[in-house]
Symmetry: C2
């Protein structure tokens, strides 16, 4: 991901109550972020009493915005929208809607966050369904995968719109001006896949996007393509399979370096290199999934994020603010209609 140097004042709203380990993580990430960006202000949304006790007295540009409710992991998306109108998640998104904040970052319930964001911010004109875009670690530059869970089933038009939105966001988050786009399939040969995949492929091919055809699951970590498009069911399984496999390999690595006094000694000697390996694979460096296709910027942090990971999600939001992602997508849609 690119680094970001804000040139103008920006305020973002953070759902302070969404993280699995409580508001401490979000408060720490907010304190770090305002220290790093002198033009950044943060609205911390949540339990005012608790937040006041956590925010350092000397902290500048951090404002506490009270919200009396919290969306839990057990709340259905519909319940979050209908019954929790004063949740920290809802109030944070409302601040984006009414212009008080330029973006919202939340580590809360993904389904509830998407439903609330759609309800409050609305989908951009012409966009059929918003999608969730995740950054994947690869051998080279990051690959952006969408949809990773908002739409279990998708038609060819939706997949085409995901390609457009993915291209726009990837060019904003990375250094690639014309990101390469691929469709996830079960064979790289152009004849593979069912009618829907073939239809989506033809739409993307005809669009003028930098389309490179099909890729398979094993291509996701190679970094040969900037954006991979798929439906939310497949994308969610692929993303979580990558996370699970990386954690499996770490488990085996820990195991071989601790099984005997000799291998423990080897592990000790190799500690610096092993730590570098952990840093390279650290999922905190990839945290922050963008909700794309909404009339406003919303970034979802992993629920179990620590302050470093949450900080990465904030950085994603700031890059989108800086390039005004919703306006760029809206422009593309209007040119398309013209």
């Amino acid at each position: 991901m690119k680094s970001i140097d804000l040139k103008h004042p920006v305020t973002i709203a953070l759902d302070a109550m969404g993280a699995d380990n409580g508001p401490e993580v979000v408060v720490s990430a907010a304190v770090d972020a305002v220290a790093h960006h002198r033009y950044l202000s943060v609205d911390l949304v949540g339990d005012a009493v608790r937040l006041e006790s956590l925010v350092p007295a000397a902290a500048e540009r951090i404002r506490i915005c009270p919200a009396s409710e919290v969306v839990t992991m057990d709340d259905s998306p519909a319940d979050a929208v209908r019954r929790k109108k004063n949740s920290s998640m809802r109030v944070a998104i409302e601040r984006v809607k009414n212009g008080a904040a330029a973006a919202c970052v939340s580590a809360g319930n993904t389904g509830a966050l998407m439903a609330t964001a759609k309800f409050v911010l609305k989908t951009l004109p012409g966009i059929k369904r918003p999608a969730i875009l995740a950054e994947l670690p690869t051998r080279r530059n990051p690959t952006y995968l969408l949809d990773v869970g908002a739409n279990a089933e998708c038609d060819a038009d939706q997949l085409f719109q995901f390609a457009v939105m993915g291209s726009i966001v990837a060019s904003q988050l990375s250094d690639s001006t014309s990101p390469s786009i691929a469709l996830l399939n079960i064979g790289s040969d152009s004849q593979k896949g069912d009618g829907l995949i073939q239809e989506a492929s033809a739409l993307i091919e005809a669009s003028g996007l930098n389309y490179v055809g099909f890729v398979e699951g094993n291509d996701l970590g190679q970094g040969n393509v900037d954006v991979v498009v798929t439906d939310g069911f497949t994308g969610n399984v692929a993303l979580k399979t990558m996370e699970g496999t990386a954690s499996l390999v770490s488990h085996f690595a820990n195991h071989v370096f601790t099984r005997s006094w000799f291998s423990k000694l080897q592990g000790l000697v190799a500690r610096r290199a092993l730590n570098q390996l952990r840093t390279t694979l650290d999922p905190r460096g990839y945290n922050g999934a963008s909700f794309v296709g909404l009339n406003g910027i919303v970034v979802k942090s992993h629920g179990g994020a620590d302050e470093v990971a949450f900080g990465h999600a904030i950085q994603t939001a700031l890059l989108e603010v800086s390039d005004n992602t919703p306006a760029a997508i809206d422009r593309w849609m209007k040119n398309e209609a013209a």
Copy 2:
């Protein structure tokens, strides 16, 4: 996987021409297998002149069966069936059909192998579609995933039959007598997923199988469940994503241990532990995907398999021969109909 000690004479047919690196790999694996199993005979199917030059003169219980054609990676499944009636793949499967061999192992084109196997051997009565079952590495016992590519789209009945077949095969390949079965979904909560997933879940729940509900992509490497059921599109993406991620992590590991003279030294000291790690993750230990639901045993080896990996695919075939997988599935279907 269980080890296997054959008690009676068994003949298997190997498609000697299917491996990416030529027949040498298959011949070496055959020589090793007959040396290891004194009741095993192997029919090597392919280019007789070439195979005669490769098989050691002293090799016992290896017979060369001539076949004049080879199915390539570019052949469509339909072309393989219609136009290559004397391919090594086809002749090997015919030997299972006519009772000369108890199973066939091929490293050739997966789509062509499935189409030829279905055409020659036929699907078992009552089975809607055969599936491909793959063994996954996990923290504990292996997990078997199906379908990994035979059927891109599946209805609830097919997913239910995959659960039945997966349960039967897993109990034959592993030490689990009542394998636990899960459905792959994008949330583990029982309300998640679309109508098809919910319907399949209800069918498996009502079946008397050891059904444990939904799992997600990150559960695939945990080893908490014996069999994971999904459609062939999602299963193929998940399997290849695991392979790609494991290779990505190995790449990073090699990188950190070679980036400076000091890290090279660390890598040298840690060599034994790193080699153990490679062995644990070695995909050759998981090679051999079972085609289930056919009236005969067919095992697909990875195209790039070496003799160790191809040997693992042979072992999978022998375990299925020993327990007569097709008969066990057929019995279950008949009891179900009764």
